[in-house]
């Protein structure tokens, strides 16, 4: 029984937190963007549970509103990069020459550090969500493409693929109906395991000022805001950090469970 609860614990926690966030968005009395110079850097109290930041904005409200950026955005990035990875990984199973080409592309992309790409895109497009998206997409799809390619190569040599060919299934249909469904479970596992990593990556990009720009209440950006006041008002930087840690850990445990 204890073990069973332990198994579901991360999912329950995650559900509870997401529920609280939605409740918070619906019922908070404060505006996450409204500047209130009267209440700068007030410590946590019954009115402001997590205190206020240097512009007098309620930290709890900003955490709650920022959750949609910090949690939904990585999910979108992950879905896009896994989609790209799966498509290219499956394309490489078409033939030997195609495989050589795609493998070369994968190798060259995997050698590009994502932070560098983020800086380049920030320079080209200006820092923001879009450049973060591209930065992570460029470096992350390779993981999925590699895994899908290798799994598909193994699946391709399974007898049932030959019997599918014997029953008249070829080309794209063979890949779509026979190889793809059998490669999918591994991708699903990876997405859950990677969620925490991606949250961390996006937060650190924001912390470096390359991600979401103020006044968007992204958690990484909030840590950046609070960094200057860490001596006199530690809660401004500390609370978003704690939230990032909790979510990364929960996603990691959940990933392990899915595995």
């Amino acid at each position: 029984m204890v073990r069973r609860i332990a198994c579901f614990f991360p999912i329950i926690c995650l559900g509870f937190l997401v529920f609280t966030i939605i409740m918070g968005i619906l019922f908070t009395p404060y505006d996450p963007y409204e500047v209130n110079t009267q209440e700068e850097l007030t410590p946590p109290s019954s009115e402001h549970w997590f205190g206020t930041d240097h512009l007098g904005r309620d930290v709890l409200t900003r955490i709650v509103f920022g959750a949609s950026y910090t949690l939904l955005f990585p999910a979108i990035v992950l879905l896009l990069s896994s989609l790209l990875g799966v498509v290219i990984g499956l394309i490489s199973t078409i033939g030997r020459k195609v495989d050589l080409l795609t493998t070369a592309i994968m190798d060259s992309f995997s050698s590009i550090p994502s932070f560098l790409v983020a800086i380049i895109f920030a320079g080209l497009l200006g820092p923001g969500m879009v450049s973060t998206l591209f930065a992570i997409l460029v470096s992350w799809w390779v993981h999925y493409a590699r895994i899908v390619r290798n799994t598909s190569m193994i699946i391709r040599n399974q007898p049932f693929i030959l019997s599918a060919q014997l029953s008249g299934t070829f080309g794209v249909k063979l890949i779509r109906k026979h190889i793809f469904p059998n490669a999918l479970p591994i991708v699903r596992e990876l997405i859950f395991l990677d969620m925490g990593t991606i949250i961390l990556m996006i937060s650190s990009l924001s912390f470096l000022g390359l991600g979401a720009q103020p006044p968007i209440p992204d958690w990484g950006g909030m840590i950046l805001d609070g960094k200057s006041y860490i001596q006199i008002a530690p809660w401004v930087a500390l609370i978003p950090s704690v939230f990032i840690t909790i979510f990364v850990m929960l996603f990691y445990f959940m990933g392990r469970r899915v595995q």
């Binding site: 399974q158 049932f160 030959l162 019997s163 014997l166 029953s167 008249g168 059998n182």
Partner: protein
């Protein structure tokens, strides 16, 4: 029985400098049960794969394989031409039936897929045909089998399903590569009876590759004995049994328990004469 459906002439397969199959010649007649026997590793499976065009590219194949009086040499076909022959004209059954079925689709859906590849057919009609085929395969409850996944069924059931599936495309020649390996004796008999029954029904030829002499004794019309990549003797079953020309054949044949021979031979005669 005299018209040849498959004619293999001077087939040699070489990998690097090693000769795997050496100068193989035999022909399979219409409606014939042809057995290729030999010890493990003597090149039986390689031969069957050559007939199916499934050898790896690094293997060097020489000779002619003619199918059904067609003037095309199967060895020289391109992958695209093979698609019209593999499965359609030559059916194939594997050693491991459980691996040869798609693990994430139900049996019914897999069979529907074959029918849809084959012809334009309405879903309802196709389902009807699948059920018909499952009944044909001696499954008393086709609905249950059609909605089952391969891993929910036993090896013997899967092998029967494989046979039924390859017959949906009505091939002229069926290659069965040790179809009874890993099955117990009862299931072996069920699978073999299925093969005999379908051979009678569809008037097709069967090339059975096996090392199980009891099966050979039970069902073969013609037997080819392979040793070290060469066919050392091809003859009708009675000749192989009573008057073998080669010492090796005689030795091979003497490995088999006797009581079994008599019992099984009589029983399968009974099935075939029905």
């Amino acid at each position: 029985m005299d018209e040849a459906i498959l004619d293999v002439d001077h087939l040699s397969i070489r990998l690097d400098d090693q000769l795997i199959v050496n100068n193989l010649s035999f022909h399979i007649c219409r409606n014939e049960f042809f057995c290729l026997v030999g010890e493990t590793g003597c090149g039986k499976t390689i031969t069957s794969r050559a007939i199916m065009g499934l050898l790896e590219r690094k293997m060097d194949v020489h000779g002619t394989i003619l199918l059904d009086n067609d003037s095309n040499n199967l060895i020289e076909l391109t992958e695209k031409e093979w698609r019209k022959i593999r499965g359609k004209k030559i059916g194939f059954i594997y050693q491991q039936p459980s691996l040869a079925l798609h693990p994430m689709l139900t049996i019914g859906n897999q069979m529907l897929g074959i029918l849809k590849n084959e012809k334009v057919i309405k879903r309802k009609e196709a389902r009807e045909e699948v059920h018909q085929q499952l009944l044909e395969m001696n499954f008393s409850n086709p609905e249950v089998i059609a909605s089952a996944y391969p891993w929910q069924l036993s090896g013997g059931m899967n092998q029967r399903i494989m046979i039924g599936m390859s017959l949906l495309r009505k091939p002229r020649l069926l290659i069965a590569d040790e179809p009874t390996t890993g099955l117990d004796t009862i299931n072996q008999q069920i699978v073999i009876r299925q093969l005999i029954k379908f051979q009678e029904k569809y008037k097709m030829s069967i090339l059975l590759i096996t090392h199980d002499l009891r099966l050979v004794n039970q069902i073969a019309d013609t037997v080819a004995v392979m040793k070290n990549g060469e066919i050392i003797e091809v003859a009708p079953l009675s000749t192989i049994k009573n008057n073998p020309q080669q010492y090796y054949t005689k030795k091979l044949w003497n490995m088999m328990p006797d009581a079994w021979n008599i019992m099984m031979r009589e029983e399968s005669y009974a099935i075939r004469s029905k």
